[in-house]
Structures are given as C-alpha cells and as structure tokens.
Amino acid sequence: MTPKNNIVIGIVVGLVLVASYNVEANPLEFVEGLPNLGIILEEILVLENIIDNMKYVPSALLAMLETLQMAFIGTVIGVVIGLPFSMLAARNLNSKFIYAPIRILLAIIRTFPSILWAMLFVIVVGLGPFAGVLAIILYTIGFVTKLQFESIETIDSDPMDAVGSIGVSKFQLIRYVVIPEAASHLLGQMLYMFDYNVRQSTILGIVGAGGIGFFIIQYIRFFEYGKAAVYLFVVLIVVLGIEWISVKIRDKYIVKSQHGMEVTKK
C-alpha cells in the first residue's frame, strides 16, 4: 500500500470519528440498550401473544392493500407524466435550451424525499392516503425521469439516424424509434419504481398520509409491539413477494430482450 493510500485511509477514518462524536454515536449505549430489544422480542415471540395477535392479520392485509394501491396509482401516474419530461430532458433529442431547464426542474423535485412531499400534501389535502398518492406521484416524476432520460441517451443512435434521415417528425421519431428502443429499460424502471414506492408508502403513514405505516407508528407509540410486529410481518411478506415477481418479469421479458435474445414463452 502506498503512503498516498495510507493518508487517504487516515483522512476517512478521522472524518468517521469526528462525525461519530458530533452525532454522539456511542457503541456502549448500544450494548447497554440491547436488553430492551429482548423485552420487545419477548412480547412479540411469546406463542400466546402470537396467537392473540393473529386476529390483526386481516386488518393488516387491508392496510397493506391500501398501501399497494397508493404505490400503484402513484407509480403509474408518475411514470405517465414523467415520460414526456424524460423525452424533453434527453440530450440526444433536444437542444441545451430545452433539456437544461427541464433537468433543473426535475432535480428540484428530486431533492425532497417523498415523506417531505407527503407532509406538504397533508397540509394541502388533509390526512389520508390521497396525500400519500400525491407525494408518490411527485417523487416518481423526479426520480423515474432521471432513470429514463439516462436510458434514452444510451439507446443506439443508428436507428434514430436512419429513420431521422427519411424526414419523419420529432414526435414520430420518439413514438416509433425511441420508445420501442428504450421500452425494456422503461418497463424495468417502472417495476423498480413500483417496488421502491411500495416501501416508501409504508412509511408515509408516519406523517398521516395513509397506508399501513399509519397503523405501525400508532402501535409503536402505544408500546403495542406485538400488534406492530404483525403489520411489519405483512409488509415483509408482501415486499418480498413483489420483489420475487419483479425478478421473474425482468428475467422473462426484459433481460433477454435487452441482450437481443429470443424470448420464449413457457
């Protein structure tokens, strides 16, 4: 290892120590607090409590369904609104005077996490899932457009040149070349965004924007960890299930077409 590397490692370690001091990170406190986790786990994992808390599964599933609906609506509308912005933000389709301001606007939207947008929309439209949906839409627009315009910029320029040379309009070029060429990427990003939004929707309830998070935070506040655990377990199962389905769809319809391989339907 060169002396230069040692200096870099030394600086990084120094910065971690300074930051840890500033945020009062104390490993001893963590060790001392571990028994508290035991108390929570004891409440959750006692067989009697588990059986007793199982009656909350249907209401947890209903809350999860609301969360999924929030994520679904938010993703679909966000992607649909975001797509034209992606086209306008792509360097290979527009002049600097068009893509630069659009990118700045999208960067501003992306700056705030969805929970902050949710707080804003709770003020605007009141408590409930609608505020959550609006927050997801806005965050999706900011986030998915970045993924999309970066994909659009990497598509093969040859079909665009070939089709562009026959005198088609910009709209026709986008409709018949850009979207089909980028379609597998766009679908993959939509799946990723839905996956991401489901996770995000579970915490929007913390600020009163609907979904399963609202119940989880309420139970934790009232020290009802057993009930909170049932809701968290439902989140875990559903999120893992979505990820599994997502992987299957990607493998079957996206990865193969991106590599130019024949997609065979089983």
Partner: protein, 287 residues
C-alpha cells in the same frame, strides 16, 4: 507508376465521354451533382476533398474504397446528415440540408441503409417496414399508430418481394444477418424512393447471401427505376452489379469507371479491362 496514380495525376474528372455514348456525363437527367465537395470531422483533416460526381437518374452507382477512405461520409452528404465545408451538392437540384424546407419535403424519396442497418430491434419486421410510410401519415394516424390499410397491404407486398413472408411478426433482433438486411431494404422501398443509398450492405455476409441481397437490390432498382448508390469495399462485387464505379482513396476520388457487360471505360484514361481495374485496385489496397 500505376494506372491509379496516372488517373489521380490527371486531375478532376473530365466532363466529356469517350467511346461509349451510354456513359455520357453530358445529360440533363442528373439526379446527384457534386462539385468540388470537401468536408471534415475535425476541421483539420479532410474526410473528403474536392469530390466531383455526377450521377444519372436510374444509375446503379458503386463507391469503392478502403475503410476510412470517406465512402460513408459521401453517402451522409447526399442525404443531408452531414453538410459539406466546401463545394456544392444538388440532389434533384436541391441542396441536401436538413434546415432546407425543400429538402425536408423530399427526404422521404431518399432511402438510406446505413452499415449498421438502423433497424428498431424491439419491434416486428412489419412495424420496421411500415416506418418507411411514416412521412405519409398525418398526426392523428401517427399518434395512434393507425396505418391505412393500403399501406399495410403495400408493406406485405414488399415483405413478399424481399422474401420474408411468414416472418412479419418476428422481432427484428430475432432475425439472421441476411434477414435483417432484407428488412432494411424493405423499409427503404416502403418509402417509395427515387434514390437508394446503401452503405456496405453485404459486408460480413457469406458469398451466397451477399449475392442474394445484391440481386434483390438490382431487381428493385430495375422495377422502380431507382438510382442506387452503394458503398462497397469489394471491387469485384461493384463491377458485377454497378453501371458506374467511383474509387475513393484518402478522401479523394482517384478513379471513375463505367461498366456495361464486359466493357469497362475509364473516364479519364480510356478503355480498360476488368483485369486491369482489379489489378489497379489490388495495387491500391497494398499501399
């Protein structure tokens, strides 16, 4: 000194013809005219320098040269994808510039097949071919992807012409190299072009498939009275199919010959035999 050197030394193409009147350059039927055309990619080195070309309507014209000689650039100048830094180009008496409204209106009459073919790989053969009809669609039809029935019928007729019947609904990325070339030709024919530009369309193909593709283009050229301008690096292939062959080397046109059956006419230095041309090309390639 080889014949090629003699030709280059003799200067710009002469505008009178020789023994064979069918190759006369003096004609009012010029579809492409290039006069002292130069262009460069980096403003230091010329990609093409002082090119003079004059192509008659309905000609099967070949441009031959080594990699990097400027052949593809020449095609891009003809369809307006590049602009010359010097000289003038006229395609049907209109300067090929994408900012020129008159040229934009005639762009659909120039079929262009790049070396990479430029197919949209995630859509079907039929959809790729229908792209050739896009300039004839109105905005509503474009938005809803609603091609008139007669355009679909025409696309299917062309699919049959290029030998792809039964593969209409295959995605482009599933096709073989030869099939992809047929789709690219079909898309260009769907434009109902008057000029067909093809850049090394049979390179990387085996001899049999290459011949099939060349026969297909030659057949379409005759049927539709197209002016076909094809870039090759194989002189033999160019001599076999073209009425005229221009040889480009290091951005300059060093030779232009007319071909009719077994007769080959050098526009600068008189009659030559196929063997002499091949020998010259071989000499040139060695340099």
């Amino acid at each position: 000194m080889t014949r090629a050197n003699k030709t280059r030394d003799s200067g710009i193409e002469t505008i009178q013809m020789t023994q064979n009147p069918s190759f006369s350059l003096i004609s009012t039927n010029k579809i492409i005219q290039m006069s002292d055309v130069s262009t460069s990619y980096d403003s230091k080195n010329y990609a093409l320098e002082k090119i003079n070309l004059s192509i008659d309507r309905g000609t099967n014209y070949a441009i031959v040269g080594q990699s990097g000689s400027g052949k593809s650039t020449l095609l891009k100048l003809m369809n307006g994808m590049m602009n010359p830094s010097g000289g003038t180009i006229k395609i049907d008496y209109i300067a090929p510039n994408m900012n020129n409204k008159k040229f934009k209106k005639m762009m659909h009459t120039i079929g262009y097949i790049p070396q990479s073919l430029g197919l949209v790989k995630n859509i079907t053969v039929l959809d790729n071919i229908l792209i050739g009809a896009l300039p004839r669609l109105n905005k509503v039809q474009s938005f809803f992807k609603k091609f008139p029935e007669y355009e679909i019928t025409e696309a299917k007729r062309i699919i049959s012409l290029v030998g792809l019947t039964g593969k209409e609904n295959r995605k482009a990325y599933m096709l073989s190299g030869g099939e992809k070339r047929r789709v690219a030709i079909a898309r260009a024919l769907m434009q109902k072009p008057t000029i067909l530009l093809a850049d090394e369309i049979v390179s990387e193909l085996d001899h049999v498939t290459a011949k099939e593709i060349m026969d297909l283009i030659a057949d379409a050229q005759k049927r539709m009275n197209l002016t076909a301008i094809m870039v090759h690096h194989d002189m033999q292939l160019a001599l076999e199919y073209a009425n005229r062959v221009a040889v480009i080397k290091e951005g300059q046109k060093i030779l232009e010959i007319g071909v009719e059956g077994d007769t080959i006419v050098d526009f600068q230095t008189g009659d030559m035999t196929t063997e002499e041309i091949m020998e010259m090309h071989a000499d040139d390639t060695k340099k």
